[in-house]
Amino acid sequence: MGQRTAAELFEQHHLALFRYAYRQTHRREIAEDVVQEVFVRVVRNLDAYQENGREVAWLFTIARRLLMDRKRSLDRCPTEQLLSEPEPHINGSQEASVALAEALACVPDADREAFLLKEIGGLTYEEIAAVCQVTADGVRSRIYRARIRLRDALSAPMKGMR
């Protein structure tokens, strides 16, 4: 496979990256900023990137670092923290999406992150382990714990959807 352009990578991965960032922050503008910054960095470093067919792990690693930076700056700035309340979903038909957001908010950060990298990013346990700098066994446990919590939290709405 030849070297891919940033535009091609954007086309393929921006939605997953946006959903990952959005589910972590509950803020559309932050999620959009993060995705934008990811691809600016991709353009700058595409030449240096050793292509191994799994650029998705590289993209999510950048996104994760940016989200961590954002979180740190929010922690330092309490006024901005106040503004970072979950934005209301305008579309009333997105009840399931709201329920999912609420359920995800109950999951510890590390577990939620591993779960989202798996479900939204489609990364393997090894890739998630590399992104989060933990072991693959640790990833397995985190995803499992997240699933149990989410299933319990969502069981009532999901039964309603059947």
């Binding site: 535009a7 353009v43 999901m158």
Partner: protein, 130 residues
């Protein structure tokens, strides 16, 4: 609920390697089967998520990517020019040094020429014994 079974089913949902015996045991239990279905429903719920970035974001990204790629191309051109200049300077230095050495190793240019005629080699001296 058996945590080992539940964790194995979680791996199965992720298409990771599992122990078939453990999965078989797990699926014997109605409670664990329900859990498995719950995991699958959860996956469906996450993947049904249609939330995406705004139209304005796409416009912005188009401009941002173009600008960033142009900037990156410019930087690459500058870097290549700098590299070419460095190589040229090195080659020039090497050439000058080689030329200097070649010049130093040459025999010096004669600044006067002594010419001997054949007649000058005839000697008038006579042997003492003769």
């Amino acid at each position: 609920m058996n945590a080992l079974w539940a964790e194995e089913l979680s791996r199965l949902v992720d298409a990771e390697p599992v122990d078939p015996e453990v999965v078989a045991d797990a699926l014997e239990s109605p409670e664990t089967r329900l859990l498995f279905v719950g995991f699958l429903r959860l996956r469906a719920a996450v993947r049904e998520d249609r939330y995406g970035p705004s139209v304005a974001f796409h416009d912005r990204m188009g401009r941002t990517l173009q600008a960033a790629e142009r900037q990156s191309t410019d930087r690459r051109v500058v870097l290549r020019l700098v590299a070419a200049l460095i190589v040229t300077a090195l080659l020039t230095g090497l050439g000058v040094e080689s030329w200097r050495r070649w010049r130093d190793d040459r025999p010096p240019r004669p600044n006067r020429v002594l010419r001997f005629d054949a007649s000058e080699w005839t000697s008038n001296t006579t042997r003492s014994g003769s």
